[in-house]
C-alpha cells in the first residue's frame, strides 16, 4: 500500500514539474524554428540567435540591466546589513518590531503601488527619470530582503561570542570586523544574491520609474511582446534560462558546502576523544 501511494505521489510530481517547465521549454523549442510564430516548427535554425547577438540595442539594454542589478544589490546589501546590525543592537523588543514592520512594507506592497508611489516621489523631488531613478528604486526594494536574511543569522549568533571578544580585548570595531561580520557573511551573501534576483526579475517598478530613454530587459521584452511574437525573444529566453541554471547550480553547491560544514559541527558533538 505504501508503495502504491509512493507512485501516486511521483506521478503527481511529474505532472507538477511538467506544468512548471512546459512553457519555458516551449519557448526554447521555438527559438530554433525558422518560422515566425510559435505554432508550427518550420525547421532548425540558429538565425534568431544571430539576430540577437547583432542587436546592439538589446545588448546595451542587457549591459544596463546587469549594471543596475550589480550596483543596486551591492548598495542594498551594505545598507541592509547595517540596518540589520542596528536593529539587532536595539534593546526594546517593541521598537525592533516597529522598525521591522516599516522594513516589511516594501516586501508586502504590490509592485504597482511601489512603482506608482516612487514615481510620485521622484517627480516631487524633481529627479529626472532614467538610470538614476531606476537604480534608486532597485536599491530601495532590495534593502528589506537583505535585512530579513541577515537579521536571523545575527539572532542565531551566540551573544557570549561578542562578550568573549570583548573579554579578550577587542574594541567595538574589532568585534564587528573580526567576529560579527565573518560570522554573518553567509547571510550577507545570500542577501546580495537575493537582491540580484529581485533586480533582474523586476518589471513593474522599473516600468513606472523609467523614462523614455532608458529601459531594462524586462521593459524591453514587454514592449516587444506587446507587438506580438518575435522569435528573437525566444532565443533570449533560452540564453537566460541557461544563465539561470548556471546560477542555481552555483547556489546549490555553495549551499551544499555550508550545509556539510554545519553537519560536521553536529557530528563533532557526538564523538568524544
Amino acid at each position: 500500500m505504501a508503495k502504491h501511494k509512493h507512485w501516486g505521489g511521483r506521478l503527481y510530481l511529474i505532472f507538477a514539474f511538467a506544468l512548471l517547465y512546459t512553457p519555458i521549454l516551449y519557448l526554447i523549442y521555438y527559438s530554433f524554428s525558422s518560422g515566425t510564430n510559435m505554432s508550427t516548427f518550420k525547421g532548425f535554425t540558429l538565425s534568431h540567435y544571430q539576430t540577437l547577438f547583432s542587436d546592439s540595442r538589446l545588448i546595451v539594454i542587457l549591459l544596463d540591466t546587469l549594471l543596475i542589478a550589480l550596483l543596486s544589490s551591492l548598495v542594498a546589501t551594505i545598507v541592509g546589513t547595517m540596518g540589520a546590525l542596528g536593529i539587532h543592537t536595539l534593546k526594546q523588543r517593541k521598537l525592533q518590531n516597529f522598525i521591522l514592520s516599516l522594513n516589511n512594507i516594501l516586501m508586502v506592497s504590490p509592485d504597482v503601488i511601489i512603482g506608482a508611489s516612487f514615481l510620485i516621489l521622484f517627480t516631487t523631488l524633481g529627479i529626472a527619470l532614467g538610470f538614476g531613478s531606476v537604480l534608486a528604486s532597485h536599491i530601495a526594494f532590495s534593502i528589506p530582503i537583505v535585512v530579513l536574511l541577515v537579521l536571523p543569522r545575527l539572532k542565531e549568533m551566540n551573544g557570549s561570542m561578542v562578550d568573549a571578544a570583548r573579554d579578550l580585548g577587542a574594541n567595538r570595531w574589532q568585534i564587528l570586523s573580526k567576529v560579527i561580520l565573518p560570522y554573518i557573511l553567509p547571510s550577507i551573501f545570500s542577501g546580495f544574491f537575493m537582491a540580484l534576483t529581485y533586480s533582474l526579475d523586476d518589471f513593474a517598478v522599473t516600468f513606472f520609474v523609467t523614462g523614455n530613454g532608458f529601459a531594462t530587459l524586462s521593459v524591453e521584452i514587454y514592449s516587444r511582446a506587446r507587438q506580438g511574437i518575435n522569435l528573437e525573444i525566444n532565443a533570449l529566453s533560452a540564453i537566460m534560462f541557461i544563465f539561470s541554471i548556471l546560477l542555481i547550480v552555483g547556489y546549490y553547491f555553495i549551499n551544499q558546502y555550508t550545509q556539510s560544514r554545519r553537519n560536521k559541527r553536529q557530528r563533532g558533538g557526538a564523538y568524544l576523544q
Partner: protein, 369 residues
C-alpha cells in the same frame, strides 16, 4: 599556604536589572593564587558578579578594585581578566590556533611569540596537534580545553569560569574538575569559578562563597561550609541534611524532638529558638533501646556505596540516613550520633557574628577566613 596579597575586592556592590535587585550590597576580597567558587542556585546573582568583575556589565553602586586599582567603570576589553564562558563562546569561523591567538593578535604581539605561546598553552591543555581543526570538529571536552586555553594564553591575573563544566557529561565533568584544579595549581592564577553544582564546588575550591537572592550567605573552606553552615539555606543547599527546629537550653545543650542532647555549640541566649543540622552520614543506626532517637523506617534505597534510608520520628520530622548496613523494612530503629555531629544554627545571624562566635567557643579547629 602563605597568606598572599589581595587581587580583587568588591565593596558594597549593587546591581539592578530594571526593578529587580540582582546584587544586594556585595563585598568580598579574593587573594592571589587561590581557587574560589561562587556557589548558588540559578538567579542568585553569581553570574552577575562574574560579569561585573569581567567588565561586561558595570555595577550600579559600589566599587571594584583590582590590584588596589579602581576598575569599577573600566570596560571589559581593558581589564586584565579573562573568562571561560558557559557555552565556551568559541569563534566558529576560526580554527583552534586562531581562536587561541585571538587576544594576542589584538594586542599586536609579534607573530613568532604568538606561535610559541599558543603552542605552549595547547601543550598545557593537552591539545597539541589540533591547531588547524575547526571548532565544529571538536568534541565537548576539547572545546572546553580550547576555551580555557584561549583565556589563559593572555596570562590574566584572574581567570573567570562561568558554569564552565555544566555542558559536559558526568564522567568528563569529573575528569575536567581534576584538570582544572591541577591547571590552577601549576599556573598560580587566581580562579573564580561560578557553579550551581555544590559537589563540584566542594571538590575543586580553596574557598567557597555561597550566594542566594543577590546576597552573600557564607564564605569559607569547603570543609567549614559543609560542617558549619550558617543558616538553613546553606545547610540545605550544600550536601544533604536533616534540619529540625529546636531550643538552645544552655551552652553545649540543645533540645529537639522533646529530648535534650549534648552538642558542640555555644554562645547563644538560653532557651533561644534554633535550628539543628544533622548530616545523614553522621547518623548511626542501632537498636531501639541503644539509640538517642527512635524513628520509624519508611523506605530504603540502595545507592551503590551506601543505603539511603528515609524515616520519621514521633513528632513527624523526616530523617535521612546514609548507612552501609541495610535495615529491614517497616521497622523501628534507634539513631545514634556524637555531640560533634550536631550543628546548631541561630535565626538571622550575620556571617561576621557567626565567625566571631565560632572562633570564641570552638576549641581545636580554627577557622580560616
Amino acid at each position: 599556604m602563605a597568606r598572599s596579597e589581595t587581587i580583587l575586592a568588591l565593596q558594597h556592590v549593587y546591581k539592578y536589572f530594571d526593578d529587580f535587585l540582582a546584587l544586594d550590597d556585595v563585598s568580598f576580597t579574593l587573594d592571589q593564587g587561590k581557587f574560589y567558587s561562587f556557589l548558588g542556585p540559578s538567579g542568585s546573582g553569581k553570574t552577575t558578579i562574574l560579569r561585573i568583575v569581567s567588565g561586561l556589565i558595570l555595577a550600579d553602586k559600589g566599587q571594584v578594585l583590582f590590584d588596589g586599582e579602581d576598575i569599577t567603570n573600566l570596560p571589559a576589553e581593558k581589564r586584565k581578566v579573562n573568562t571561560v564562558f558557559q557555552n565556551y563562546a568559541l569563534f566558529p569561523h576560526l580554527n583552534v590556533f586562531d581562536n587561541v591567538a585571538f587576544g594576542l593578535n589584538l594586542r599586536k604581539v609579534p607573530k613568532s611569540e604568538i606561535e610559541d605561546r599558543v603552542a605552549d598553552i595547547l601543550r598545557v591543555t593537552r591539545m597539541s596537534g589540533f591547531e588547524n581543526r575547526m571548532i565544529s570538529e571538536l568534541s565537548g571536552g576539547q572545546q572546553q580545553r580550547i576555551a580555557i586555553a584561549r583565556a589563559i594564553v593572555n596570562e590574566p591575573r584572574l581567570l573567570l569560569l562561568d558554569e564552565s563544566l555544566s555542558a559536559l557529561d558526568q564522567k568528563l565533568r569529573q575528569q575536567m574538575q581534576y584538570e582544572l584544579r591541577s591547571l590552577q595549581q601549576r599556573l598560580g592564577i587566581t580562579f573564580l569559578f561560578v557553579t550551581h553544582d555544590q559537589e563540584e564546588a566542594l571538590a575543586v575550591s580553596d574557598e567557597i562563597i555561597v550566594m542566594n537572592d543577590g546576597k552573600l550567605q557564607q564564605s569559607g573552606s569547603p570543609v567549614d561550609i559543609y560542617d558549619e553552615p550558617i543558616n538553613h539555606f546553606v545547610a540545605d543547599f550544600i550536601g544533604e541534611s536533616n534540619i529540625v527546629p529546636g531550643t538552645m537550653i544552655q551552652d553545649f545543650e540543645v533540645e529537639f524532638v522533646g529530648k535534650r542532647f549534648e552538642c558542640a555549640d555555644a554562645g547563644m541566649r538560653p532557651n533561644e529558638a534554633v535550628e539543628v543540622v544533622l548530616r545523614p552520614e553522621d547518623i548511626e543506626v542501632t537498636t531501639q533501646d541503644q539509640g538517642k532517637l527512635v524513628v520509624q523506617v519508611d523506605s530504603q534505597l540502595f545507592r551503590g556505596d551506601h543505603f539511603e534510608i528515609t524515616s520519621h520520628d514521633e513528632d513527624g520530622n523526616q530523617w535521612l540516613i546514609h548507612t552501609t548496613n541495610s535495615v529491614e523494612d517497616i521497622e523501628k530503629v534507634g539513631l545514634n550520633f556524637t555531640p560533634q555531629a550536631l550543628h546548631v544554627m541561630r535565626f538571622g545571624e550575620e556571617e561576621e557574628d557567626f565567625d566571631a562566635r565560632l572562633s570564641q567557643y570552638e576549641e581545636g579547629d580554627n577557622t580560616e577566613s
